[in-house]
Symmetry: C2
Subunit: 367 residues, 2 copies
């Protein structure tokens, strides 16, 4: 007889929050020519990161430090906080799983945006949380409405991404600070700042480690170009951060990943160079969109949401036609966001291919 | 105000299941001269693994395949099962966390051994499970008593390690099969075979993927020498395995780790060589123990439990004196197992240092 599976999991579908480009390549039987769909950094990690990982590989018979002492110290120094304010795990995704388990019991409420980050929702579903979703407003997460919902629904968690994925939009630091200050008692604000490295400085409020109502999430997966290395962290009050140790997988962050992340932090010149390249790529995506009669949304991230000008059915056709032409891109999952396709900052070659294939894809989608 | 923390976590201590050797080194202000306490493989991974990781580092801007297609295929081929019978995550520890969440609700019962694997218990504690612990018998996990307890207590999970950690003991395949067959309805048998690569062949019952009552856990952390790479997997009925996708972190296994594990599986000659070296090291640890008037327990793992001949207080003194002399070893946490210290298979140099320091440690502990 099969084992007992807890009720809130038994009936969930066996899905992945994201279908990987590798799965699409296996379906199509051919590799993508441009991989600009997962908001990875095509510019790659710092060469020093690659060296650090290769060096650590020879020592990989040793477990990584479960206290992540050196990495936490480097992160703390980088942000001017203490190590006790830092929790590290294998990507923001893993940290979201931990926070949901720390703060939410099955049936309790989590507030997020309708169309917000799927993996956060995946972890809420896996725990049997009750989700309240607030529609976007003008392609931005509607923070006053999110705050109202958190108060009204007695939410345990409130999720807010700034800059936002999948739209690339952002709000200013003063609005974020109002959101932080307004988070109701008993609720924790999940402030997802995965794209903070590419954001305008005035979008990121100062870090305040004395406030236990908010955690700030950062990652090496985006501008640092280390998505496959799996290191994310969050910053917050020591009294909140200390709970992570109670349920996290203490050996989760590999020895190579810890070494790689330390090397990445030490090479801020490389990060600055990549951020500049991302800005140029965003501008080029905007030009390509305009040349094809489409509208590129303003972006503070390493991708651009391009409004295809019609509904989700049409945008999905455009997407399929691009994929059929070897260009891996993705798109938001729900209306009205799904009138857009989402294109990550690419190399010159990637974007040349996009410029070549987009007119063909639009023509094919129109028929 | 601090956020709400769920009741079964709020009162847990913020501990690590294991204190890493790095933490001890930081306390002592000096590096260990022999790192033979965490059952890592001092013989390291295959050179092909190191190469594969270094190669993958340059591509680490890409997320690893969330379906782990190639790695699962390689594991399935290695064991003669199907990919649908394989779940992979960042070490057996991570898989244990998933299984506990899949099968147990707070207050439900899990049966394990008194002195059994701490990280499994850590995950049970983190979920608020009720733990029933069965004493070892003659330094072996007492499988008939474990089975009785699982039936009597209506357990959701039953944990059994074969070969066992921390004692190194094992039971034969027919006993394990009786345990598998006797696992009660509604209970899942967690068969931890982390040390199967160093076990006598007749300790491992044949794989049977048609039985949904048992999952078999394997790892690259021990004989494969890849503890810092974080890859473990479990084998089982497809109807059980498919639940993992519902709550696992789909990107958890890094791009380097997937490449490294594939390379490791392809180099079985290296594994065989390491297993032979482990056997020689076990014999050498036995000689050193005997020469010091201590008894080495028989072991089917990559470590040897050495009975110090008195109680836990004395063994803890011996352990502290070895650590003070630069030899990192560990020991079981509870009586009567804690009359032993646990020494991992070391290099010739590691064991020469052990042979030098053990008499001094015993002398110091006796005073």
């Amino acid at each position: 007889m099969p084992p007992h599976i807890v009720s809130h999991i038994a009936n969930l579908p066996s899905v992945t929050p994201f279908v990987g480009p590798e799965a699409l390549e296996r379906q199509r039987g051919v590799k993508f020519r441009a991989r600009i769909g997962a908001n990875e950094s095509v510019f790659g990690p710092s060469p020093r990161v690659v060296e650090a990982i290769a060096r650590a590989a020879a020592e990989s018979w040793m477990y990584g430090d479960p206290e992540q002492h050196e990495l936490k110290a480097a992160i703390a120094a980088h942000h001017g906080v203490k190590a006790e304010n830092v929790a590290v795990d294998s990507g923001i995704d893993a940290l979201f799983g931990i926070v949901v388990r720390l703060c939410v019991e099955p049936g309790e409420t989590v507030v997020t945006s309708l169309g917000g980050y799927p993996t956060f929702i995946f972890h809420c579903d896996g725990l049997g949380a009750r989700l309240v979703r607030v529609p976007y407003k003008d392609d931005r997460e509607d923070w006053p409405a999110l705050l109202d919902a958190a108060r009204r629904e007695n939410a345990r968690l409130l999720y807010f991404a700034n800059p936002d994925n999948p739209m690339g939009s952002w709000v200013g630091a003063s609005a974020v600070q109002t959101l932080i200050d307004g988070t109701p008692d008993g609720c924790l604000l999940i402030l997802d700042e995965a794209y903070s490295d590419t954001a305008p400085p005035d979008a990121i409020p100062p870090l305040d480690m004395s406030n236990p109502s908010v955690l700030r999430f950062r990652t090496f997966s985006k501008a640092y170009g280390m998505a496959g290395v799996r290191v994310g962290y969050c910053l917050g009050h020591a009294d909140v951060i200390r709970h992570f140790d109670k349920i996290r997988n203490h050996f989760d962050v590999t020895r190579m990943s810890q070494a790689g992340a330390i090397a990445a932090l030490a090479d801020q010149a490389y990060l600055a160079e990549v951020v500049a390249r991302i800005a140029r790529a965003r501008a080029r995506i905007g030009e390509i969109a305009t040349a094809n009669g489409l509208k590129a949304l303003q972006s503070a991230t390493n991708f651009v949401a391009v409004d295809c000008g019609r509904d989700g059915t049409y945008a999905r056709k455009v997407l399929a036609e691009l994929i059929a032409r070897g260009v891996f891109v993705r798109m938001p999952g729900v209306a009205p966001l799904d009138r857009c396709i989402r294109i990550s900052a690419g190399t010159d070659a990637d974007l040349a291919l996009l410029a070549e294939m987009l007119p063909q894809a639009l023509k094919a989608a129109a028929t």
